[in-house]
């Protein structure tokens, strides 16, 4: 994966070369992470990609050239007036445009874009390449008014998407992708200029050039994340051939790596979570493909084949499966989900990532909940595949993991009384005796809910609960501050467990 390799080299390179220690790097990463989290909270989470030159290893802005101003003007002047060496000037310009200040200077300069577009569409292939490189640098700007300034170039960029040159196409794509998040106006223009069909045919025609596929999917993902995407963009995308194209590229190529699949998976996630009704995608096999892929990835992870960045692909796939399940009617579930290994793979993923990426583990158990909610078959599978003990062992872990696990166990208990007995045999009652003592109110209430279902199911379960001294736990809860706890525990005691008391003496006879 060229991205990941580059990142690792950068870290080592920086550490070695500049004498900067890894601590500084770590600090910088943490700062960046904090900024990203804040941006997400503000619904402004945007990232752009910079395609580096072949000779570059890292996108350092440490230029030898003096800050932008004069260079831009002089370069533009040279470009306008010299016949030869345009290519060299353009190359120099692209290097200068790495600097944010220079970018602003450029767009303020009259006719600069016009000049660039002229070179972009000229007869000199090398000039076209360098011109698009300049545009690419501009597109990467964090100033939101730079992208609109590049709009004159977009019709041509779109046209070039069906061209033969890989590098050139990649640059066009990433440039367009970088421009998408910056403004409504840009997106509207791009949509009007046909970016969706252009992307669709690009992926179709270049499906064997995985670098281009990756770039196209990235660009699409930028469009799909826009705030107005559900109304303006997603309907168009769903009507196009893009969904099936994305699905067809989903399986990673062993040689090229995970990158194109990652981009496609994120696109699918944005598509699926934006609409309530995903019948189209279901019909195209989205659920079966995503789940099969999850199974094979889960298998790889379990075997220790944790390829670098594999979770970057697992994550969006989980979300696709989790959300698309809500569009899948119960009766179709088995037809759609052909891979019976899914429950086991999901449980394996939870165990694999519990300590390293708890958020991923949490999303995995969310998917398990959606899988088991309305399906007796999958509930049964969890029992017969002996996956339940592993889930019960996860009950200590908070922040959304144990509450979701209780949901899954409740889903199982809800289906059949035999399941309740089996759950009892697997130790759920003693686990509940512990969860009933937790500080988290939701855990206690959910535990009471499961307990109700289980004790109602069979006298065997009720007796066992009493035998484990569960009644005293319920008594305590009868006088808890929260009404939900009081009502449930009182109801359980009075209606169901009363008859299972083992020591009733005259003194202790309950009042009628």
């Amino acid at each position: 994966m060229w991205r990941l390799n580059k990142a690792r080299h950068k870290a080592r390179h920086k550490a070695g070369q500049q004498g900067g220690n890894l601590d500084e790097l770590r600090l910088k990463r943490r700062e960046n992470e904090r900024a990203l989290r804040q941006a997400r909270r503000d619904r402004q989470l945007v990232s752009k990609r910079l395609l580096l030159n072949e000779d570059e290893e890292q996108p350092d802005v440490s230029m030898d050239t003096a800050p932008g101003g004069h260079d831009i003007v002089s370069l533009l002047h040279k470009l306008q007036h010299t016949g030869t060496e345009k290519e060299a000037h353009l190359k120099a310009l692209s290097k200068v445009l790495r600097d944010p200040a220079a970018q602003l200077t450029f767009i303020k300069h009259e006719n600069s874009m016009h000049l660039l577009v002229g070179l972009l569409t000229g007869s000199n292939a090398q000039c076209r390449l360098q011109a698009v490189r300049c545009l690419h640098e501009l597109s990467h700007s964090s100033h939101t008014n730079v992208a609109p300034a590049c709009l004159p170039a977009t019709p041509y960029l779109l046209t070039y998407l069906s061209g033969p040159s890989t590098k050139f196409t990649e640059l066009c794509l990433y440039t367009l992708g970088n421009m998408c998040p910056d403004s409504n106006v840009v997106r509207e223009k791009l949509l009007a200029q046909g970016i969706i069909p252009a992307l669709a045919s690009c992926i179709e025609n270049q499906r064997h050039t995985l670098a281009v596929v990756e770039a196209a999917a990235f660009t699409l993902s930028q469009l799909l994340q826009a705030r107005d995407a559900p109304e303006k963009i997603i309907p168009i995308v769903l009507k196009s051939t893009l969904p099936s194209r994305l699905l067809s590229v989903l399986t990673p190529d062993p040689q090229f790596g995970l990158a194109p699949a990652i981009e496609c998976a994120w696109c699918l996630h944005y598509l699926i979570c934006s609409t309530d009704d995903n019948k189209e995608l279901l019909a195209q096999g989205a659920l079966s493909q995503c789940s099969s892929l999850l199974v094979s990835l889960g298998g790889a992870v379990t075997e220790g084949n944790k390829e670098d960045g594999i979770e970057l692909l697992i994550w969006p796939l989980l979300r696709c499966v989790g959300n698309i399940l809500s569009s899948c009617p119960e009766e179709d579930l088995n037809a759609q989900l052909t891979d019976a290994h899914l429950p086991a793979s999901l449980c394996a993923l939870v165990q694999a990532y519990l300590h390293t990426l708890p958020a991923l583990a949490r999303e995995t158990v969310w998917v398990l909940n959606n899988l088991t909610a309305h399906s007796t078959e999958f509930c049964s599978a969890l029992l017969t595949l002996n996956l339940v003990p592993g889930l019960i062992q996860l009950l200590p872990f908070s922040q959304g993991i144990n509450t979701m696990i209780l949901r899954i166990l409740a889903n199982i208990a809800h289906k059949k009384k035999e399941f309740c007995v089996q759950l009892m045999q697997l130790g759920l009652l003693s686990a509940l005796c512990a969860t009933l003592k937790m500080a988290d109110q939701e855990m206690v209430i959910q535990s009471l809910d499961i307990l109700f279902m289980m004790t109602v199911s069979s006298p065997v379960v009720a007796e066992e609960f009493v035998r484990q001294d569960g009644l005293s736990l319920l008594e305590v809860l009868q006088y808890n501050g929260a009404a939900e706890m009081r009502q449930r525990s009182t109801y359980l005691l009075e209606k169901h467990l009363l008859s299972y008391q083992q020591h009733i003496t005259v003194d202790n006879m309950p009042d009628p």
Partner: protein, 284 residues
């Protein structure tokens, strides 16, 4: 719970008996509300935050494969759910310890916590049972506190002597805390104060042996009678348990977050399932 019509629609694969049981339980008072449901999460849901950040770190070339700072996996805490007790624990054993020490053998009438079921029984009998008082005038009703001894005595004092002479209880044992708190205990009972402290006081008050031996009803403050408290195994274990309980209770006890007090008529403890220990006859 699912409405009956909805139940019918979902009979596929569901056990008929389970349904019947569930629907039988569906009266208006049934507070249980769990139904399995598929949870949809939209793009900006907070559950998705970490994954999104991970993705964008990768896009911005900030990804590294080895996690530098391992994100903390948090573990649920345990809390004592007895109204008024705000103790929180990080381990289940601590909770059990706390509960067993402070809440298990509690007398309904005077709220004292006794170290064992047997001592609770004896306490209730000797302190709160009028019949006992009557019978004790004519027969030996005071049991020896040492399990298995079986001897009975006419008065409290006789028993005390027996414990010292035969069972070697040290005569000079003093349980100072108890002595100090005694006068204040009644006034403090209704005050809104640190729940943890309140509970501890109760126990200090009530290390079963000395109370039982002194034979004073709860409403009379203990006067001059020395807490000639005598050590016994139970007492020692109470002390240990107390110490442990004090250690494990959170150092910054929270104020009770709810004011739902347990009525005095209700009592928890071994064997008191739906009965009320120490009270004969009906509760109001």
């Amino acid at each position: 719970m699912l409405q009956p019509e909805a139940l019918q629609l979902r009979t596929e694969g569901r056990d008929e008996q389970q349904e019947r049981r569930l629907s039988e339980s569906e009266d208006g008072n049934n507070p249980f509300s769990f139904t399995p449901q598929i949870i949809r999460l939209h793009k900006d849901h907070e559950l998705f935050e970490d994954g999104d950040i991970h993705r964008h770190m990768y896009l911005q070339d900030l990804y590294i494969s080895e996690a530098e700072d391992k994100p903390a996996l948090s573990v649920s805490e345990f809390a004592c759910h007895i109204s008024g007790c705000s103790a929180v624990f990080s381990a289940l054993e601590e909770y059990e310890h706390h509960y067993n020490a402070l809440h298990r053998h509690v007398c309904c009438s005077c709220r004292r916590s006794l170290p064992s079921a047997r001592l609770l029984d004896i306490h209730i009998q000797e302190w709160h049972d009028s019949l006992f008082t009557i019978l004790a005038q004519k027969q030996d009703m005071y049991q020896c506190l040492v399990e298995g001894c079986g001897q009975t005595f006419r008065t409290n004092k006789h028993r005390k002597d027996h414990l010292i002479r035969i069972h070697k209880y040290p005569p000079d044992f003093r349980f100072d805390k108890t002595k100090k708190e005694r006068g204040r205990r009644e006034t403090k009972r209704r005050e809104q104060k640190d729940a943890a402290m309140e509970v501890v006081d109760d126990v200090c008050e009530s290390e079963g042996v000395c109370e039982v031996m002194c034979n004073s009803p709860s409403d009379e403050p203990e006067g001059g009678e020395s807490m000639e408290t005598h050590e016994c195994e139970e007492k020692a274990s109470t002390e240990d348990v107390l110490a442990a309980a004090q250690d494990t209770e959170s150092t910054a006890p929270r104020k009770p977050q709810y004011s739902y007090r347990i009525p005095n008529t209700v009592c928890f403890g071994h064997g008191s399932v739906r009965g009320f220990r120490g009270r004969r006859g009906r509760r109001k």
